[in-house]
Amino acid sequence: MYDKTVRRRRAVLGLLVAGSLILLTAYFGESAGGALHGVQRGTTEVLNPIQEGASVALKPVRDLFGWFGDTLDAKGKVQKLAAERDQLRAELARQENATYENARMAKLLQTRGTLDLEQYGPKTGRVTFASPTVWYATIRVNKGSGDGVRVGMPVMNELALIGRVTEVFRGAAQVTLLTDTNASRPSAGISARAGKRNVFGVLEPLGAGNPNDLVLNQVAPGAKLEPGDRVVTRGTVSDPTLPSLYPSGLPIGEITRIDRDGTDTEEIHVRPYANMKDLDFVSILTRPQAGET
């Protein structure tokens, strides 16, 4: 009886391990339109409304946790207001959240005007999910194919470019951030120009766990760049037959340091303007080529 149980246990373990490895190999080897990706997309289509509902339902819990975080940061101030705290706690959390969201939204709209983004058909979406691991720099937004969102569209927050749409569902879209390094996704280097002399290069993520560091590669030798130089998207400039995913001139970040400056192995580090860990509202540019024609 004991041997039979042990054999059964080991057999199930072996089967599950084999199942995992088969899934992993098949998923990693197939294209984005493959069967497993299809199953994943289908399941996400089904679960997405539930997730969105749960996200809305659990928002008060998140707000409550956020309130505790703010409280810890402002302990001194809170102590002075301790007597009023119980009475005002719920009201304060609601009002703070509304004010915060309004400010972010207003800034997003202001950025649209400043950068003349209206021509690119921006759609404002709310971030409903952020990947919990450091290995996948992805977020999900509550705008999907029904809103005109398609794969490859650039996405901005109120400060700068943050990434591009990589999966689209009916009512949601998956956005891969600039800092994503996942090996199962194709490399998404961004053609960029930097500094006052408009030096061209390709902006790429440095590695997982570095949400505030990008590297500007393929820069011409002898390019005069220095810390503080702004980096923006290059857009379609020289070759209109091969349009860029990103319109020209979208802000990305600024150069923070240059390692081994002047050598063949120099590494130009760029800090994105956008905080990839703090995204609430984003703009998806649904007509990214509008400014190129």
Partner: protein
């Protein structure tokens, strides 16, 4: 409904609700630069309560669900959580630890094992990731947060599964050390 079917139904519901709560709420609550990750804690709790067979199967299922919902490479979380569930179950079958703080220690070890296993598989799959201080810091922060919530998560899982657990598991008693044990599923 047989006891095994009842347990399987409760485990399925736990996996679905747990993953939805994780993605819809817990993952969006940064604490100290990292978010808690309920999946290794749930799997650890099920392994400790139900044994290696149920722990392994539950880990595989939760991992698959996490990979599907998060649009990650299928099979990575399944493999890592399968190991966590199986080992937690073996701990219960071989040692049956009774200390109050066992779930806390087991939760921390489960989170560490899951993080390391997940990272190793990402490296094997070719992720371009230098082992930076930021990466280590985020892993440690998740470990600490998970250790802090391991006890309540274990208590909730135990409460949810209690009615479906075999009788001897509900009345805790110390057992002598054995080199192997039987899963409650196999005995029911």
């Amino acid at each position: 409904m047989t006891p095994a079917a009842k347990l399987a139904a409760r485990l399925t519901a736990l996996a679905i609700v747990g993953v939805i709560v994780q993605t819809a709420a817990v993952a969006q609550l940064p604490i100290g630069g990292a978010s808690a990750d309920l999946s290794p804690l749930m799997v650890m709790a099920v392994g400790l309560l139900c044994g290696s067979l149920a722990g392994g199967c539950f880990g595989f299922g939760v991992g698959l669900l996490v990979d599907v919902v998060s649009i990650q490479t299928l099979g990575v979380s399944s493999l890592a959580l399968l190991g966590v569930g199986y080992l937690a179950g073996r701990l219960r079958e071989a040692r049956d630890p009774e200390g109050t703080l066992v779930p806390l220690a087991a939760g921390a070890i489960a989170t560490l094992a899951f993080s390391v296993g997940f990272a190793l598989m990402q490296f094997l799959l070719g992720a371009a990731a230098p082992v930076s201080w930021a990466l280590v810091r985020q892993t440690l922060a998740t470990l600490v947060v998970n250790a802090l919530i391991a006890l309540p998560v274990y208590a909730l899982v135990r409460r949810w599964l209690l009615a479906a657990l075999p009788e001897e598991r509900r009345r805790r008693r110390r057992r002598t050390y054995t080199t192997g044990g039987l899963s409650p599923l196999s005995r029911s």
